[in-house]
Symmetry: C2
Subunit: 470 residues, 2 copies
């Protein structure tokens, strides 16, 4: 495709996306297709001859769009948000266009240095501890997801505890990790991948707010030590996926310091809230953490994928993940004056992902981000009040920020019926969890363009559908 | 950013990228900045107020561009290519614009179904075995990189061998893996991550073509079995990073079948060549593999990241990587009629990456791809002939496809000096390896727009610089 053809088709795609955002509220939020429907509408074989670009764009409109669940609809309240924005999309477009691969500093110095800089920017912006700065002992790196960040933290903890013997000799089955029963499934996955074994992951019980009981953590660690095991890793959560519960990071951190264990803090969605001084308390205790992550691709207007992962001691991470073959050796690396981010992550290759994050931070500015975060929290709190005022419903968990867990008092069958009706309507999309063994609906406000009007309409629809449940 | 502002700024970015490709040959291929130079040119703090979009684009031009190593320059011959193309970039732009997250089928059915379809398309196109089809027992999935594919294969092999006890109880130190001494560093990294330990990875010796000696593999397995260990995994390479050596997959596969070991085939760059019937022999024996990967983001015009990973038995992979918390349960998943790709990879979240691959396959068509692949191979072979004809140089390894390993006969110091001079000139970028303990230069032809003219110029420059080496 010549530069001129690229210009022409590029404008067409940009226009298509602009139009998509103009009409996004007209689509059912949750795709209504049946399994196999999208595939069967498409050619079963790769074309032998090339096709005109217009044919592809037509198929996107006619065949792909019906199979889209619209994460960028302001009526998307499911899971956690994955909010995008104009500056984020265009920063990402530049990354695709430049097409650099930043595995080493030398393979595009700007890719590495902008990433280090922007992650340093976020340390004071989120009131994270100074040890996470690259100019200090630590540093930040963009991972694809919090799952990968948790895995990297688990591995670094494993190696630090075994004095790097696990990398050399393999695991030996004495290590034990801890997280709350409400933590994300990626902790269990990381423990399995790292060869620790899920039987060596303790799911610590939670209090009435669904936050980890630090006394129970301390007791579990004592018990394991008495059994001759080696406690090595705790993952605390700032904003659990189920209910947005915030673990007592300070108390957990004190236990970890005493026991010389690695503390990782997973603030995947909620970390963004710390942009606002009034929510910064969620980061109390993070100064005791060895690592931390949050996802701008969830609630900071930066399209997927973009997880910011920080460590207090970059040497431990690098020593865990570095393997240096001859064909990657180069003078810049040997000088020791540069970061090679391949040693901070699982894959070797990497995109220029900091461009989109840099664009978002500059386009909105700190104050712009604070405005949108506050609005989302305000709207969610308003929704929680409406739920409280309707006696058919109950709030199922504290709602510290932008996620409201609620349910009909009538029981699981009623909530399942309500959720199915709402999602089938196409007017909104929300998902469920179980809290205290009860089916609970979750409404998470975080899509870039969600406003009070959208959540008012959602609440009207929820009430109307509830009228039909019997 | 409103849809109208997005349209306007989007056109500006598209134009910038079109212009970038028009002038890309005017830049030094390897960035000439010094460590810290890019960072120090940028603001040390995040802006409090938002900035106009034009300020960002201006900084990309003035401050980022000097720090770019131009992977998309037709004069880029380093490492392996990471070739992009117009349809690839625009497919990726649509993915960013739609902003869907395809962790589950339900979270965007089109994201899952298009991926499954396009990976099925590639099975006959690359003469891969039918068992890799999703309509058979296997299936394909897009990973970020071959490193992650190798890790997933290692984990599935570990679990199959231990009857899924490692996930449950952790590793126990009896498993042994095998790859050649020329295999990619990601194999060692995967073995470390998975808790196997690099002391339990045997680096099997290679023949004079740098391909794994299958007899040496069989001997190593026997020795380990006699020592009471459990051989479980072999990673064979189709096109090693150092020299593009092709392991004897058929012989290795027969050993693996006999010993009931998992065979993974890493064809990261070279797999693409199998698009052309005359190069399909590189896939001989892949029918005996349990898993396979190649990277369209290397040599198939699909911008990073896009690794295609296939398994023969999807159940083993899914059982290895699946963790299902309440908040991800949904009717489509429970029906068993859909694929949830979160269970095929390390992270939970995922981009709509098949769009760019679909666009590339349709825009070029199989014949268009064949044309470009053949051209790259032809040009590389021409280069090899020129090297052979100059008595100062020698070819250091067989060049089966698009990578030529060569060196001055004068010794390491001369080759280092030559490489440094070439890369400093900005006129081309190539990297080195060591073969038979000798510093060896690698010239890999694979950037989308590289033509005979570029490689002719490269050879002229190499000869001219060699004239100055003494």
């Amino acid at each position: 495709m010549s530069p001129d053809d690229f210009r022409r088709h590029g404008h067409e795609v940009i226009d298509w996306i602009a139009d998509y955002y103009s009409r996004i509220e007209s689509f059912p939020v949750l795709s209504q297709v049946k399994p196999g429907e999208v595939r069967s509408s498409l050619s079963p074989h790769a074309p032998v001859q090339g096709e005109p670009f217009a044919a592809m764009l037509k198929d996107v409109e006619e065949k792909i769009l019906p199979g889209i669940t619209h994460w960028q609809s302001p009526k998307f309240y499911a899971f956690f948000p994955g909010n995008a924005s104009g500056p984020g999309i265009l920063g990402d477009l530049l990354s695709s266009g430049l097409g650099v691969q930043g595995m080493l500093w030398a393979t595009s110095p700007a890719c590495t240095e902008l990433e280090t800089l922007v992650l340093d920017w976020l340390v004071p912006a989120l009131r994270l501890p100074e040890k996470f700065l690259s100019t200090n002992t630590g540093g930040g790196v963009i991972q694809d997801t919090a799952s990968s960040a948790t895995l990297c933290a688990t591995l670094a903890a494993r190696e630090r505890t075994t004095n790097f013997a696990s990398n050399r000799e393999g695991c030996r089955g004495k290590l034990v990790a801890y997280t709350s029963s409400q933590a994300h499934s990626s902790v269990e996955k990381a423990i399995q991948i790292a060869g620790i074994g899920r039987e060596n992951l303790r799911l610590i019980e939670v209090d009435e707010k669904f936050a980890m009981k630090s006394a129970a953590l301390a007791a579990a660690i004592d018990k394991d030590k008495q059994a001759g095991l080696t406690p090595f890793f705790v993952c605390a959560t700032v904003g659990t996926t189920s209910s947005n519960a915030i673990d007592p990071v300070l108390q957990i951190g004190e236990i970890c310091r005493r026991e010389n264990m690695w503390l990782h803090v997973d603030a995947a969605m909620s970390g963004t809230a710390a942009m606002c001084p009034e929510f910064r308390h969620i980061h109390n205790g993070v100064e005791l953490a060895d690592s931390y992550c949050f996802n701008p691709h969830k609630w900071m207007f930066t399209n997927f994928d973009c997880d910011c992962f920080y460590v207090a001691d970059r040497k431990a991470l690098i020593q865990t993940l570095s393997v240096l073959p001859e064909y990657l050796k180069n003078k810049a690396t040997e000088s020791g004056a540069v970061i090679d981010y391949r040693d901070w992550q699982i894959p070797l290759g990497r995109r220029f992902r900091s461009l989109k994050l840099w664009f978002v931070l500059r386009y909105y500015g700190i104050e712009g981000l604070q405005f949108h975060i506050r609005e989302h929290v305000r709207i969610a709190q308003q929704f929680a009040e409406w739920v409280c005022g309707d006696e058919r419903f109950e709030i199922a968990a504290p709602a510290p920020l932008n996620l409201v867990c609620f349910r009909l008092r009538a029981g699981d069958w009623a909530n399942q019926k309500l959720m199915d009706a709402l999602n089938r309507s196409g007017e909104l999309y929300l998902t469920h969890t179980k809290l205290d063994s009860k089916l609970t609906l979750r409404l998470c406000v975080g899509q870039t363009n969600t406003t009070a009007r959208h959540v008012e309409n959602a609440w009207k629809r929820i009430k109307a559908e509830a009228d039909h449940i019997r």
